[in-house]
Symmetry: C2
């Protein structure tokens, strides 16, 4: 592996992320490119910290190039998220993908990916769902267990990062077969897991967001690289972080406004099976964002999916308006001496989102959706920022 790729959110960037970057270099990668969620994250929310802070953190700790995973690609289910990230990194020229997994066994993860791509699996899954499986995740695991020769294959689908890892492997199989998969073990806390003294200096990003909410930047100090901490202190002092309470209220304002139209959510991405009516009813009866999610979430409709649906609906993200894969490489930052690695890109590349938008077609549509998310996000900061910041943002070059 000469040019490694990592798909990340860095929300916020912490010791585990720095460890992963160091391991990637230790695996022999000369350069590391990151596809980083931009303005929206996979759980259907705004990121805690601005792109600039997260980009600078990654570059400070070993990343060489940071590309924006456009908001509509970032705010998407595991499969679409993985495909967009892999396509982006393959277009950048990466020959390896490094990712975390509870079961860091490349062969086993690839076997699971192959299984999930098979026709027999799709048939088994369909039967499980028709048979009234408790949830999609349960149906998936039961179908895999039915078909896998190695029982470890079905077993690994039980863990959240393994699931995402398998989606990365599926995306590699279909979009970038020459890319190699490098799973790494996760350090410390599992995704979403609470802090625990046994984890030492490693904490999950969600635990850190919680710490930040309770105690500001200072509270996350033990879990983030020393070189990065001053960036967080600065962002905190300047109010450059998301006010999630304001964000929830603003999202509801947009959703209420949408309800004035007829069939307001019929064309929203991800809507099927009458979900648009369910969403409209929930918007009409909910008084807070949490209430909205409570009203939408069931075993069949997991909370993260409902968060993404609500965000898509608030931002007017329709099913037919967007290309499924990134049509460009929007460079958020890079090390100067890594720039020659950009010469083999197979997609238009620029640090200027305005320029990428200007090329029309799919690029214009993706850039507009990205800007809508960005303008929503900067309004929801503790200290809000003007619209169009992402258009004016200078590339972050580190020497």
């Amino acid at each position: 592996m000469k040019f490694a790729g990592i798909i990340a959110e860095y929300d916020p960037f912490h010791n585990g992320h720095a460890w992963q970057l160091a391991q990637t270099k230790a695996l022999g990668a000369e350069r590391v490119a990151v596809a980083m969620s931009c303005s929206l994250v996979q759980r259907g929310a705004l990121p805690l910290l601005p792109e600039a802070v997260r980009t600078r953190s990654a570059l400070t700790c070993g990343a060489d190039l940071v590309f924006a995973l456009p908001a509509p690609c970032a705010c998407a289910g595991a499969e679409a998220f993985a495909r967009a990230g892999v396509a982006l990194l393959a277009a950048a020229g990466c020959d390896g993908l490094v990712f975390g997994a509870e079961t860091p066994d490349a062969a086993l993860l690839m076997e699971a990916a192959e299984l999930l791509d098979s026709g027999s699996y799709r048939a088994a899954l369909k039967a499980q769902l028709a048979g009234g499986a408790r949830s999609f995740a349960a149906a998936r695991q039961a179908a895999a267990a039915q078909l896998a020769s190695d029982e470890r294959v079905a077993a690994l689908l039980d863990k959240p990062n393994n699931n995402l890892a398998v989606e990365y492997c599926r995306a590699i199989r279909s979009l970038a077969p020459r890319m190699e998969a490098y799973p790494l073990p996760r350090q410390g806390a599992n995704h979403g897991e609470a802090l625990h003294s046994a984890h030492g200096q490693f904490a999950s990003a969600s635990a850190l967001r919680k710490l930040w909410a309770e105690g500001g930047a200072d509270a996350v100090a033990p879990y983030v690289p020393e070189a990065v901490f001053p960036l967080y202190q600065e962002a905190y002092a300047a109010g450059q972080y998301t006010d999630f309470s304001a964000a929830g209220r603003c999202e509801l304002a947009l959703l209420r406004s949408a309800c004035r139209g007829k069939a307001p959510f019929a064309d929203i991405r991800g809507v099927s099976e009458g979900l648009e009516h369910r969403l409209e009813a929930a918007v009409r009866t909910s008084t807070t964002y949490d209430e909205l999610l409570d009203a939408l979430t069931t075993v069949r409709y997991p909370r993260a999916r409902m968060r993404r649906l609500a965000m898509d609906a608030a931002l007017g993200c329709t099913a037919d308006s967007l290309p499924a894969l990134p049509p460009y490489l929007h460079l958020l930052g890079g090390k100067k001496d890594a720039l020659p690695f950009l010469k083999n890109c197979t997609l238009p590349v620029s640090h200027s989102l305005a320029r990428l938008r200007g090329s029309g077609g799919a690029s214009a549509r993706m850039a507009e959706a990205q800007l809508a998310a960005a303008d929503f996000g900067t309004l929801c900061r503790v200290s809000p920022e003007a619209m169009g910041g992402l258009l004016r943002q200078k590339n972050i070059f580190l020497t």
Copy 2:
């Protein structure tokens, strides 16, 4: 005068309002109907307190019937506001209009109204504006001074409540010539004036909103009728009052979202002379609602007008979507023994906004705009409420 009408906001209802109601009865009125701003107020903002609290306060202190002055009529310039209020009260059957003025001289105010309605005044005003008058208000006063035989006529236009009073008189002249005008002196503080010990138990509504913001319901106790105060305490404890900071952020969220369209504000009510571009530029560069107003306000474009413009734009209130005058009488509350006074109404009357909306045409359009404002307002409460509350709200009957 048998059946008096009052046009009011009661935001919040205070001792001055109670005094005015008592005076109205003292003038011989058997019954008093109020046209009360609903969900939006004339300064282009959400009212501090919900309709129900303001209605109940008025009924407790002498009002017999309270009608909603629909949000788009309430959030309008003085002329349109006055015309809507007068038309509504005339349709309810009122034979007199009681209002406050710094110069409570009916003959003089009517003389001013007649002057302002004349062709020679319109010509003089045009000349003043073409001559580069400092502001519309200044041009108006200069034009009036030029033509009035009595110098007191032009002089009275210098006071805010006189100006509104003259607009009431103009509306009476054109829409309800058989209605009689009863100007009353204002008690205590002038509109918008800060508190002053000399004013005793009288304070302006804006001073009370400021007190409330600083000290909650308790802070306004000295200035509101004893019988009303418990309603305020209850509303305060339940968080049933506007969070103006949240409202400003939500309004910006709606405006930012609108900016995604082409020429987003071209059709908004009140837009002319390129104001739509000015508004769009201000939305794009402003980080807070106050910044937005600062960017919009000039001598030519007063702050209150810009607040109304921004609210219309946020709620998508277009110039051609709405009837200029209320097409129905939406009864918010009344005393049981005053209900027979409703038999002579010349507009459809109901306590049910759903029913009025159901009659289609202008009524449906007005009701939809009213509901949009109401649903925005209830989201911006300290404790937000579900959508459609105004549809479910029970009529408030007091015996």
